[in-house]
């Protein structure tokens, strides 16, 4: 194929197909280059200026989020954020979305999502130690969705299991809006000895650019612009964008990178993974951060396929590749080091002073553009926003469920896919490899110990897009607080946040309003509990034939447990333990699972979230756990008190006997800021003195698995075995 000339690109407006607008193209020609960009150069701008790489639509909004605290060692801008956890150690974490690749090719899309986020962590010099994921699909009705779910779950497990990192938590939910645009978000957490921290920079004239890892093929070319493009029925055309992962190579690459940074920090000046927009994005960002120039010689790039053009090599998203900036005197050491891991490592270029990005291919200079024009000159957009009519119109609507039979409603709710146990899926993930997992999936947060210390790390992924859809601001706050409650209930102190912001087309003013308002909500909640947002990812254009998904921010939160003894789980421990509900319950049914169950849809506004009360309750739970007064703790979320009680009883097949002033309907209310706790009888006085207000004593844990419940309206005995069965088997049944 002969490439079109610069003139032909201009005349045919080929750049538009690649995602550059007329005004952007004009900016490049007239203000930046003062000439027409050639084929390769146009390709570079089109990926680097895509939303996925440049955040041109979302930057303004993202700045609203707090990113500072005493613990922050690195925030947004690096491959991942870093938080100090004392003793010279730090945690490094980030989440990333792989929604579009997973829609096209579910197994590989999900697998390479996991692979990509792991590289973001070890490229900081950290040893990855845990994985999480957040998945959203359409309802489990038709074979196609089930296939999609199976393949995505298999891809997540296939990669994580093979590389040997435990998947310690996550979530899966089902709503109509994700039927054709599933969300696949993955998070990785790593541990860093602070001295090992490596920036992704390429500085110092004459220093070498070294390519390490898998060979380059034509995988995922234009994956980055593709991720920023709305989805249409023409999926088939985009099939060349499929990337295939090789977790075996990634394992070697991970071990090699962690070891070289730990043992030979002086050999390496900078390191970065090749993620979206592969070679161009990694090298341009490294050079741009150091305000250097760069020369690359593509003939040296290890290639899996023949006759690849410069454009293809620069944009390829072949997996399991890293870029290093290496001091010339250590070149041989570095190459030898990687060879010992049976990895390809070659010098592909060097750092220059002229701040130009120059690429040679077959001895021809195919690109010569200012480095910073790729990363810094991207126009930022201030998109118009309007509040969607559905929100204004429904603000005053209040749903009240009708409970004919508390028992039936209770049993039926446990079967609802969003509430039923997800074990059918997460048991295909190795959650224990490394033998450090203290709390596996199935409680609130996942917890991993840090070997050699008393410390442990609690981690969770949370989102509730139903609430964000009804009220983005309050929904954003709720998402953060739900995550925080999971951390707190597990015995941790929330210390930081990463996010995946999954939304529709930002050029739609309603979508942009949702993005903006929910980020404001997230920001206010994070400030309240001092959890800076230290990394994250934006995935826009999640639409299918012009229907946007629910605004779906996913919060990945990390908590510190200073002493493993404080690790707490949701399950009731002993017969006779006292059951308490912390927090008041109101008629909060809009957006709830009971509303969905009874009406098949969600509707209405949300009550503002009292951040002070939320914070107070979290603090009280932490104090109670710190003082050793808590036997079990579970946060209340979907399905309210009824579901929290059931889940806590299931693990050890216990029962409970409770009496409450709440109505039967309120057993399913989803009022925020609540926790379910059990306390040993001997700790009763101390516990009650500590929590003082806002608590209700409910009753006791019992031996037989019967749920005896007396509400304001009625007294019932619910068969706990049947409840367990409903909850445990529902998903497997649906997946048949």
């Amino acid at each position: 194929m002969t490439e079109p000339t610069a003139k032909q690109i201009q005349d045919s407006k080929l750049y538009q197909q690649w995602g550059l607008s007329d005004s952007e193209y004009k900016l490049i020609c007239e203000k930046i280059l003062h000439r027409l960009p050639n084929y390769t150069e146009t390709g570079l701008y089109s990926v680097m200026w895509s939303e996925h790489c440049s955040y041109k639509n979302s930057k303004k909004v993202l700045r609203k989020m707090p990113n500072k605290s005493d613990r922050v060692l690195a925030g947004p801008g690096e491959d991942a954020g870093i938080l100090d956890i004392g003793d010279g150690q730090a945690v490094v974490f980030k989440a990333e979305s792989h929604n579009h690749p997973s829609a096209v090719e579910p197994y590989q899309g999900a697998a390479t999502g996991v692979g990509g986020i792991i590289r973001d962590i070890f490229s900081m010099g950290a040893q990855p130690f845990a994985l999480l994921n957040s998945l959203k699909f359409g309802p489990l009705k038709d074979g196609q969705t089930k296939h999609l779910v199976n393949e995505v779950v298999a891809g997540i497990g296939g990669y994580g299991n093979c590389i040997g990192l435990p998947t310690v938590g996550g979530e899966i939910s089902f709503e109509n809006c994700y039927e054709d645009n599933p969300l696949v978000n993955a998070m990785c957490v790593g541990l860093l000895n602070k001295t090992d921290f490596k920036h992704g920079t390429a500085s110092g004239k004459g220093n070498l650019i070294v390519y390490v890892g898998a060979k380059t093929g034509r995988d995922g070319i234009h994956g980055a612009t593709f991720a920023s493009d709305e989805f249409t029925d023409t999926k088939n055309k985009q099939r060349s964008a499929v990337q295939v992962g090789n977790p075996f190579i990634e394992k070697l690459l991970m071990d090699a990178c962690v070891e070289i940074i730990e043992r030979h920090p002086n050999w390496i000046l900078g390191i970065q993974d090749m993620g979206a927009a592969g070679l161009v994005s990694s090298t341009a960002e490294m050079a741009s951060k150091a305000d250097s120039g760069l020369i690359l010689n593509l003939d040296n790039v290890p290639q899996r396929e023949t006759e690849m053009s410069a454009y293809e090599m620069m944009l390829s998203e072949s997996q399991e590749r890293m870029v290093l900036c290496v001091k010339p005197q250590f070149k041989d050491n570095v190459l030898e080091f990687f060879k010992n891991f049976e990895l390809d490592a070659v010098v592909i270029g060097e750092v220059t002073e002229d701040k130009q990005y120059k690429i040679y291919h077959h001895n021809e200079l195919v690109t010569d553009i200012p480095v910073r024009s790729l990363t810094e000159d991207v126009p930022e957009y201030d998109r118009p926003e309007v509040e969607p009519a559905r929100i204004a119109n429904n603000r005053d609507y209040h749903f009240m469920p009708e409970i004919d039979s508390l028992t039936d409603t209770w049993q039926k709710l446990l079967k609802q896919p969003n509430i039923a146990s997800k074990k059918h899926f997460y048991q295909t993930y190795d959650s224990q490899v490394k033998a450090d997992t203290l709390v596996q999936p199935g409680s609130d947060a996942g917890v991993t110990r840090i070997r050699g210390t008393k410390k442990a790390i609690a981690m969770t992924n949370d989102s509730n897009s139903k609430y964000v859809y009804l009220d983005p601001y309050v929904g954003g706050q709720i998402t953060v607080m739900e995550a925080a409650r999971n951390i707190v209930a597990s015995g941790g102190e929330p210390i930081g946040v990463t996010d995946c912001l999954n939304y529709g087309n930002p050029e739609n003013p309603e979508v942009f309003w949702e993005l903006d308002k929910s980020v404001e909500g997230i920001a206010s909640a994070c400030e309240k509990i001092n959890t800076p947002v230290i990394s994250g990812n934006v995935s826009l254009y999640n639409e299918y034939n012009d229907e946007a998904i629910y605004p779906s921010p996913m919060i990945g939160m990390v908590g510190l447990i200073d002493d493993m003894k404080k690790v707490t789980t949701a399950s009731f421990k002993e017969v006779g333990d006292l059951i308490y509900l912390l927090g008041n319950t109101f008629d909060d049914f809009n957006g709830s699972e009971i509303q969905l169950q009874q009406t098949g849809a969600i509707k209405g506004g949300l009550r503002p979230l009292d951040l002070n009360e939320e914070r107070l309750h979290q603090d009280l739970v932490r104090q109670a756990i710190n003082q050793g007064l808590v036997a079990s703790c579970h946060d209340l979320s979907e399905g309210g008190l009824a579901v929290a009680l059931s889940e806590s009883a299931f693990d050890r097949e216990l029962g409970f006997e409770i009496e409450t002033e709440l109505t039967s309907a309120q057993m399913f209310s989803e009022t925020q800021s609540r926790f379910l706790l059990t306390v040993k009888p001997e700790d009763k006085t101390n516990f009650e003195n500590l929590v003082l207000r806002d608590y209700q004593y409910l009753g006791q844990v019992t031996e037989d698995s019967i749920f005896r419940v007396t509400t304001k309206d009625e007294a019932v005995s619910i068969n706990g075995k049947e409840a367990l069965n409903n909850w445990k088997e529902a998903i497997a049944c649906l997946m048949k």
Binding site: F248, K251, Q427
Partner: protein, 223 residues
């Protein structure tokens, strides 16, 4: 005592086993690279779990061509002890140091769960600290862990008391619920469950500890 933990490309439970020896039973352990050709100076060999060579082709199939393998075979044939866990078990069957094969789980899915095992033989160098028929809780994590052997082999396994562990509930569809078998001489054991992940109550179970203590006990008796 000094244990070799043999590390293949893609092994990922190597450190877990290393810590099991170092911290669990406070003995010496050393990682041995698959390119090494000598196991001189070691008292026993541990082959860890993971995905050697990505588990491509068949799990364990490519690892048996690594340089260290002939030394492992020599070790086994000399009657010294060899323990393969999960991928290590798969490697030992591919090597024919143990009978049978490990194939895809009956439900064709990976499964990670803490399961109940029954100790079928407490007279081995790997189980002398357990009692016969003792029920222990040990995690499994595998996609290709269904033990298969033909009927004649099964008859022999039973006759020689080579079945060391059985699953209480057949999680993967194994022949005769077999979770772990040893060779005729009793010095090579392979098992799919991970005792090295069950050494402390804080991670969910400490029932794996006795397996490592059994080895120590036996070697002390021998010396």
């Amino acid at each position: 005592m000094k244990f070799a933990v043999v590390n293949f490309p893609g092994s990922n439970c190597d450190m877990d086993l290393y810590y099991a020896i170092k911290d669990g039973i406070k003995e010496e352990a050393e990682l041995v690279d698959y390119r090494q050709t000598s196991l001189e100076g070691f008292d026993g060999v541990l082959i860890p779990g993971g995905f050697s060579y990505g588990d491509y082709l068949r799990s364990g199939a490519i690892a048996v061509h690594a340089p260290i393998i002939s030394e492992i075979v020599r070790f086994a044939n000399e009657g010294r002890f060899v323990l393969g866990i999960c991928n290590g078990f798969q490697i030992l069957t591919e090597l024919h140091l143990l009978p049978g094969a490990l194939i895809q789980n009956e439900k064709s899915r990976f499964i990670c769960e803490t399961v109940t095992l029954q100790v079928m033989n407490d007279q081995t160098m790997f189980t002398n600290q357990y009692t016969k028929n003792e029920k222990i809780r040990i995690p499994v994590a595998h996609g290709e862990g269904r033990y298969y052997c033909d009927e004649q082999t099964l008859t022999e396994l039973k006759a020689n008391d080579q079945i060391v562990f059985r699953y209480n509930e057949n999680v993967n569809g194994s022949v005769d619920q077999i979770a772990g078998v040893m060779n005729r001489q009793g010095n090579v054991l392979g098992m799919m469950p991970h005792p090295e992940r069950a050494l402390e109550d804080i991670v969910g179970s400490s029932d794996g500890l006795k397996l490592f203590q059994s080895i120590i006990n036996q070697v002390r008796v021998n010396n």
